[in-house]
């Protein structure tokens, strides 16, 4: 386990019928770190994301997420109790595998982006960022009832939400296009907007599913600095799936390598770069080495 874990994945297994997409995967993501999840196509990376964010219900395993000074000591007691979360005065512990997707986002504060961008294409850039602030705005509008009557102090809350959206528009450089529909933005801008939208939910953990896919080298470098800024300025840890090694090796603090749903390596980018199993999984090996490598991996 990392020194200050934010997310602890323990023995995560996900089966679809007879197919084992993820098998007995354990890793931790440290607080304030950028953790990369890499592996060849079909290795089960997105499945892990979907389990963490509640879109899939894990077949087996425990996914614990900490807020603040989390009572990690209570983890086993919490698991036995059957509750979803344990809160103390200065922290909380969530069992993500017990929570539906929207509560993972709302309470556990895990935000995500998607491999194939999922923006609200027919809504403006600004509206996209306001939808992300749905829950606080709902509360401010008195769950709509007071808002319709104009009683709640909704206008102030909406102004604050717009200010937050503006902040993120400045960060991603889209302020000038705030009133354009999101579907009209160029591809790279859509990727950035999706990250900004996720950040508008004030997450503690941001899960990015291939954020650099389809970006040119310049955009990819911009993305690196955006992710580092998110980690540095917003106390948000990042978990990222990526194929672009220039992104992975440059910004991540910790890399986990999956192949066929099994973890084959776990360490710093430098250690991963020189790991024989990783090289074998990515580049392939001479036939005589396959058996040896597979035996080592445990296939």
């Amino acid at each position: 386990m990392r020194a200050d874990p934010l997310l602890a994945v323990e023995h995560l297994t996900m089966r679809f019928g007879g197919l084992v997409a993820v098998h007995d995967l354990s890793f931790t993501a440290g607080r304030g770190e950028i953790t990369a999840l890499i592996g060849p196509n079909g290795a089960g990376k997105t499945t892990v994301f979907n389990c963490i964010t509640g879109f899939y219900r894990a077949t087996a395993g425990r996914l614990a997420l900490a807020h603040g000074a989390a009572p990690w000591g209570d983890l086993d007691a919490l698991t036995r109790r059957g509750d979803r979360s344990a809160r103390t005065a200065d922290g909380a512990l969530f069992l993500l595998e017990r929570m539906p997707d929207y509560l993972v986002a709302q309470h556990a504060k895990v935000a995500r982006t998607f491999q194939n961008i999922r923006l609200f294409a027919g809504m403006t850039v600004l509206e996209n960022l306001l939808v992300a602030q749905h829950n606080p705005l709902m509360a401010a509008s008195g769950y709509t009832l007071l808002g319709v009557l104009g009683l709640a102090n909704y206008a102030a809350a909406e102004r604050a939400a717009i200010d937050k959206a503006r902040h993120w528009l400045d960060v991603i450089g889209l302020t000038a296009r705030a009133d354009d529909p999101a579907g009209e933005l160029p591809y790279g801008a859509q990727r950035r907007l999706e990250i900004a939208r996720a950040m508008c939910t004030d997450p503690v953990l941001l899960c990015l599913d291939e954020p650099a896919a389809g970006l040119n080298p310049r955009e990819s470098a911009e993305l690196n600095s955006l992710i580092i800024a998110i980690r540095g300025e917003h106390a948000t840890s990042v978990l990222l799936i990526e194929h672009d090694m220039s992104v992975v090796m440059e910004i991540s603090d910790h890399v986990i390598v999956l192949d066929y749903g099994v973890k084959i390596a776990d360490g710093t980018p430098d250690a991963i770069r020189n790991d024989a199993k990783v090289v074998a999984a990515y580049l392939g090996v001479a036939d005589e080495e396959v058996a040896a490598a597979e035996a080592e991996v445990g296939l």
Binding site: T53, F55, D101, Y102, L103, A105, Q106, A111, R112, F114, R118, L119, F120, A121, G122, M123, T124, L126, E127, L130, V131, A132, Q133, H134, N135, L137, M138, S141, T144, G147, V148, Y154, E158, I162, R166, T175, A178, D179, D180, P181, G183, E184, R197, A198, T201
Partner: protein
């Protein structure tokens, strides 16, 4: 146009016309070419009408020939022209659209006065009732369904069920407990909203076609219950003698304590009609106001986001279950309001009034209007309901087609033509753009092609 291209055009047009003639011939051969008659032995015999058939074929071919020579080149020329001036046109249209709503509201407020002035006390009832009230009921139903279909993107084919719930709720409660219209109106709305939520629960996981089928079934279930639960609803015979709304306690009758007597007016049925007109106008405006308001609140944006991408909504912490249920409940509530008004206005209701055709009409209004657009829905309601009412007035056509000609019989045909025409001309409805709910610097309307229709 120079000579060679003109010759090519004529050749092309002739070929086009020939093809049309062939198609028309085979299409109309069984329809017009043959006719079944009874001969003198009272047997069924086949008669031929080939001359008439050829008249039709010639008409179609000639029409196509002229069309290919005149309209098609014109359209081609227009398409080739640069698209630059369209921007200006769009801006002008946006300005017209912005002025349309206040202008229309002003007009509908003074409409009864105008009609009174033009048609007098006797003639005005028809114009206020058949055109004013009837259209406004559908405007309101359209606004209500617009929340479910247009904003949240949930295809609901059983909307009439909530209209029926509202109508029967008012009818039964008013007859049994003698409660007044304005007390029962919110109650009927709440009951309809309750049924909306009840429908919402089982269909939460369904999308698209499957959702449509289940909502359709729900509409039919409600209608069949109304037919078969005779003890409560009196079945097919319906409920008669439903108390009519009063002017805040003052009845609209010829008595000494009636509306006319108290206000020192001569008794006329028009007062009740005008009162009802303003009631439904107020209800429709309330619906529009609440919908506009809701669109700018987080719930409205969540509905639209749900229509755009449900999975993204969930990743942002939006409880899509509650969001869908509130959409169903809000839509149903307005349907319930309209239903109780309908019962109060008619004084008689039966399951006949709540068939699938009503659901289809309301959905057609929403789709024709442009999903999500209030102005579009209002225009579509006027065109569809007003249009069918106008057909009743077209006695002139009897002079043309003979005394047996009843224009109202062609209602569905015209309706179908209008639908096809609109869908070809404006596939996203009359108002095909979406207005953003808020903006930073400039309000730009969003092209309909970007906005999703929703999928469940």
């Amino acid at each position: 146009m120079d000579a060679p291209s003109a010759r090519i055009d004529i050749g092309h047009a002739a070929k086009d016309a020939g093809l049309t003639a062939l198609l028309t011939f085979f299409l109309l051969l069984p329809l017009i070419g043959f006719k079944t008659v009874q001969n003198i032995h009272n047997e069924l015999a086949l008669d031929t009408r080939f001359p008439l058939l050829f008249v039709f074929v010639a008409l179609a071919a000639g029409g196509r020939f002229v069309y290919a020579l005149t309209v098609l080149p014109w359209r081609e020329r227009r398409a080739r022209r640069t698209r630059a001036p369209r921007e200006d046109a769009a801006r002008v249209r946006a300005r017209i659209e912005r002025l349309l709503a206040p202008g229309a509201i002003g007009f509908v407020i003074v409409y009864p006065m105008i009609v009174l002035g033009l048609a007098g006390f006797g003639g005005a009832v028809k114009w206020v009732d058949n055109f004013g009230i009837q259209i406004l009921i559908y405007v309101m139903l359209g606004f209500g369904l617009n929340i479910v279909v247009g904003l949240a993107g949930l295809l609901d084919l059983g909307y009439v069920a909530f209209y029926a719930v509202g109508a029967y709720a008012y009818a039964l409660l008013a007859k049994t407990f003698g409660l007044s219209f304005f007390m029962l109106l919110p109650l009927a709305g709440c009951l309809a909203a309750f049924w909306g939520i009840l429908l919402g629960f089982p269909v939460l996981r369904l999308r698209g076609d499957y959702l449509a089928i289940v909502t359709l079934a729900f509409g039919e279930i409600i209608r069949l219950v109304l037919i078969n639960w005779v003890d409560l609803t009196n079945g097919y015979a319906g409920i008669t003698g439903i108390p009519r709304p009063t002017f805040f306690g003052i009845p609209f009758n010829a008595d000494d304590d009636g509306f006319a007597a108290i206000f020192g007016l001569e008794f006329s049925p028009i007062y009740r009609t005008i009162f009802l007109y303003y009631v439904i106008l107020a209800l429709a405006l309330l619906t529009a106001f609440v919908t506009v308001r809701l669109r700018r609140l987080p719930i409205g944006r969540a509905w639209e986001a749900l229509r755009e991408d449900e999975i993204a909504c969930r990743s942002l912490g939006i409880n899509t279950t509650n969001t869908k249920l509130t959409a169903f409940a809000m839509g149903a509530m307005f349907g319930g309001f309209a239903g109780s008004f309908f019962a109060a206005r008619q004084g008689f209701i039966s399951p006949e009034s709540f068939t699938f055709l009503e659901s289809a009409t309301i959905l057609a209004i929403v789709v024709l209007g442009g999903m999500g657009s209030q102005v579009g829905v209002a225009i579509a309601a006027i065109a569809m309901i007003g249009g069918t009412e106008i057909l009743r007035e077209l006695d002139v056509l009897k002079d043309v087609f003979g005394p047996d000609f009843d224009p109202t019989q062609y209602r569905m045909l015209l309706f179908g033509f209008a639908m096809v025409a609109i869908m070809v001309w404006r596939p996203r409805g009359l108002i095909a753009t979406r207005a953003p709910s808020l903006f930073l610097k400039e309000r730009k309307s969003i092209a309909g092609s970007l906005v999703k229709e929703g999928h469940g």
